[in-house]
Amino acid sequence: GAGQDVGRSCILVSIAGKNVMLDCGMHMGYNDDRRFPDFSYITQNGRLTDFLDCVIISHFHLDHCGALPYFSEMVGYDGPIYMTHPTKAICPILLEDYRKITVDKKGETNFFTSQMIKDCMKKVVAVHLHQTVQVDEELEIKAYYAGHVLGAAMFQIKVGCESVVYTGDYNMTPDRHLGAAWIDKCRPDLLISESTYATTIRDSKRCRERDFLKKVHETVERGGKVLIPVFALGRAQELCILLETFWERMNLKAPIYFSTGLTEKANHYYKLFITWTNQKIRKTFVQRNMFEFKHIKAFDRAFADNPGPMVVFATPGMLHAGQSLQIFRKWAGNEKNMVIMPGYCVQGTVGHKILSGQRKLEMEGRQILEVKMQVEYMSFSAHADAKGIMQLIRQAEPRSVLLVHGEAKKMEFLKQKIEQEFHVSCYMPANGETTTVLTNPCIPVDISLGLLKRETAIGPLPDAKKPKLMHGTLLMKDNSFRLVSPEQALKELGLAEHQLRFTCRVHIQDPRKEHETGLRVYNHLKGILKDYSVQHLPDGSITVESILIQATAHSEDQGTKVLLVSWTYQDEELGSYLTSLLKKGLPQSTP
């Protein structure tokens, strides 16, 4: 799911032999089989538990966790499911709410039950931010703050030195109640990023907020009613804080309601998980808890018919069912009223229809609803915009990027931008498509102790903070790599050693006798190579360490002496250095 689409996020990642499922969401736009991901992609007949090492849920929105009980209890999965503490707390409540709407209101059967939600949540392991969770010996995951909603997290999945980061939904600008997403420079092989607002660059938040308040204020002033469809947790709290402070400042009297049920509970979660909110709220919560609202009261269904202005927050956010849709139908006919859509609406929902300009809606039972009320759209979704997505890529420095959770056309644009700016490959697979990303895995090599001791004995003492060059023979045997000394390698492989020797002739103009030339060379080298053992042998030849130098007269020209420099392959470095040194000639003055 979520391939070139928004809804039913569900991504399978195979990394170094481990299979991880990222999110398990439902699709708001469908009521048939298409509302859940197609789990037959994982396996046709075996148990899912055998194929998946773990499942990770990024946050509590239903398009990220709505299919979880279906997946774990009805399809069957018993492995670990990871999510943050707030997600674990809130997720079952939204699932139960979703179940109620589907089963109790729409009368569907063959849907997951309350007990299934409970059983499913028993499989959940809660994780802390930045905690490294060892799923098994090789697979580890780590959560980062994502901002989007309370408890939203990005996850790093790591096996050996290969890693993937999945962002879930995130927000790069702090808002009134949450902080901004943050990740360290973890350089994953692949970054899987949402791209809801791939082409949007939003104007400043302050402007949007002022606009929103102005519209609400104007409508209320002229006696109209304002409907704000929201999801119980997330934007709702953000807008409540905004209106609460505005009402207080302007001393407004019109009532603000919040549709019943979840709200009170929702605000309670915010109070208890206040460590997940932004700096300012965390700092001041002892004096004044921002989630204790003075002006916002619980909504009762009967209030919708009350005369006079009011502002109502009602769920769900896309006007596809429930209370928000009921109120919408009541108020839609009056041009004094206004509906403000504060977030993204999935195709197929009433929200999407009215936003795309449709004013005559076909409701259930072929009834036509004429929309006369004003329709406003204001992006208050806490998703990163194009700028934010680029910013996250800059922070994490991935080797490749994969876009999900967005519309194909917009993704295409962002993909080009990413490839241009970061010179990394960018993918945007559709649902059911597989993308293969090549990585450069690191391969551990064992070094033999003897060789290590021998090599560290040469040159300066080892320093933990500096790299050191070592020589040895790489043996690849039985799927393992070892670095051993050449002698040992020969012995193990049963090979005879071949000596490789380089010999080089250097011509020098020197009329003196051979042994005098030899002596000059010796003195010259002795003077320069102070750290090496330079020896003059009785037979007139010179050795520098194991390199041999002999001076002979040229067969034709007695004034030219030929210096034979000979060294083994192992002394290549010193040998070539000596040749180039001797090629420069000997100093003029003779000792």
């Binding site: 802390h128 208890l272 933990a464």
Partner: protein, 472 residues
């Protein structure tokens, strides 16, 4: 691998570890037992304290009578109380790369280290540790600063003079190094150097060493630390508990196969079983109140008090104490109670489950709601209007030398109906009471120390299979 021990106090450690060319300070505890040598700081003018006679030497010379006062045969310094810092001479503390904090009690010396030694490194601690540590420091600074003392005694510290003094002053070590309390700006500066970490978070130090905090089960956010290179593993176990109280249980599995295990912060009263002590606490409290007396509980503003309140929550109705007011007085009382409710992730499983409902994890929320527990920043202001007796008062500081507790000792000390119940194990209760003698009030000692005892340690060591074991 090198270790230096900079603190003489067994439960308030300060060690420095040199490992793989990094220098790591383990904890930063402040020994406050030095304050027991000082006179209490009364919030309200105390005629009794101001009338105490000056101390006169055997030869009759009186040059110290302004600095030293005598009370029931003990001699006290009449000055701003001072603390015994970790040893700062042994090694150059500016070379310390990082400081790892294991719990909020073990960070009280932090401002002295970060602000006065040229320290430029980073401090690592969990969020509850920092938040509650800040509250403890705030309370400390507040309770000392609100009672300005004109004189600062220094004559007695002269080595020649100190020799002539009676015990324990005579035997106090390094009195010249004792320091006055830090200030709030210093606390803020010190805390700003802390980087927050979560349990099981792997933190790389210069690519040479990796450190990881683990749950230690002793207090909110308390942690043990694993310090490891690729092939060696050092475990630092400080202030750990295997008992089930409010914090997340101790993570023992991750300590397995350590090459070295450094163990500090063991219980100081291995014979006192915490459960038994809580029971005794409740029954003594009930008895006193039933007889019309008041109960004073000197305590820190966070930690065991949460457990005590929880016990009382279950106990008061059955004991017929539902009408007795409970007061919690501290400049940080409100913050402490509020903070305790928001660290769900750091709490034991039971409390976590409550948050999922969502309900506050600690029942003191209900005690406050039903007006059974009231909290005040100090005895001044609202408290004096609401104050009803008999009552139970929780307040600091456990040393009985500063804070609101001094006032209640003076107020209630003369009546044998009242009881003071000591629950914090850090101070000897007899020493704490010395400047209040003679005392008619009943004294009960119910120390609650949930840290590891010897039996638990040997069991732990068997389970985690360490190669070397170090008890600094």
């Amino acid at each position: 691998f090198l270790q230096y021990c900079l603190s003489g106090h067994p439960t308030l450690p300060c060690n420095v570890l040199k490992f793989k060319s990094t220098t790591i300070m383990l904890d930063c505890g402040l020994d406050m037992t030095s304050t027991l040598n000082f006179l209490p700081l009364p919030l309200v003018q105390s005629p009794r304290l101001s009338k105490l006679p000056g101390w006169v030497l055997k030869d009759g010379s009186t040059f110290l009578d302004k600095e030293l006062k005598e009370c029931s045969g003990h001699v006290f310094v009449d000055s701003v109380p001072e603390f015994c810092l970790p040893e700062t001479e042994l090694l150059d503390l500016s070379t310390v790369d990082v400081i790892l904090i294991s719990n909020y009690h073990c960070m009280m010396a932090l401002p002295y280290i970060t602000e006065y030694t040229g320290f430029t490194g980073t401090v690592y601690a969990t969020e509850p540790t920092v938040q509650i540590g800040r509250l403890l420091m705030e309370e400390l600074v507040n309770s000392i600063e609100r009672v300005p003392k004109a004189q600062s005694a220094s004559m007695w510290k002269n080595k020649e003079v100190q020799r002539l003094l009676p015990a324990p002053l005579k035997d106090a070590v390094e009195v010249s190094m004792w320091r006055k309390c830090y200030t709030m700006p210093e606390v803020n500066a010190a805390l700003s150097k802390i980087q927050l970490v979560g349990y099981s978070q792997k933190i790389e130090l210069f690519g040479a060493v990796q450190v990881t905090p683990l749950s230690s089960g002793y207090a909110l956010g308390s942690s043990n630390w694993i310090i490891q290179s690729h092939y060696e593993k050092v475990s630092y176990v400080s202030g750990s508990s295997l008992l089930t109280t409010h914090p997340q249980p101790m993570d023992q599995a991750s300590l397995k196969n350590s090459d070295v295990l450094i163990l500090t912060g063991l219980t100081q009263i291995p014979t006192a079983n915490p459960d038994g002590m809580v029971g005794e606490f409740c029954s003594n409290l009930a008895m006193t109140v039933r007889n019309g007396g008041n109960v004073l509980v000197p305590c820190y503003p966070s930690g065991v008090i949460y457990d005590l309140l929880e016990c009382l929550y279950q106990y008061i109705d059955s004991a017929g104490l539902s009408n007795v007011p409970f007061y919690f007085i501290s400049p940080v009382a409100n913050s402490s109670l509020e903070f305790s409710q928001i660290f769900a992730e750091w709490l034991c499983h039971n409390k976590q489950t409550k948050v999922y409902l969502p309900e506050p994890p600690f029942p003191h929320a209900e005690l406050i709601q039903t007006n059974k527990l009231k909290h005040y920043p100090s005895i001044h202001g609202d408290f004096s209007n609401d104050f009803k007796q008999p009552c139970v008062v929780f307040t600091g500081h456990p040393s009985l030398r500063f804070g609101d507790v001094v006032h209640f000792m003076e107020l209630w000390g003369k009546s044998s109906l009242n009881t003071v119940i000591f629950t914090e194990p850090d101070f000897s209760y007899l020493d704490a009471l010395a400047p209040y003698q003679p005392l008619a009030m009943k004294c009960v000692y119910c120390p609650i120390d949930t840290r590891l005892n010897f039996i638990q340690v040997s069991k732990l060591l068997k389970e985690v299979q360490v190669m070397n074991f170090l008890l600094p």
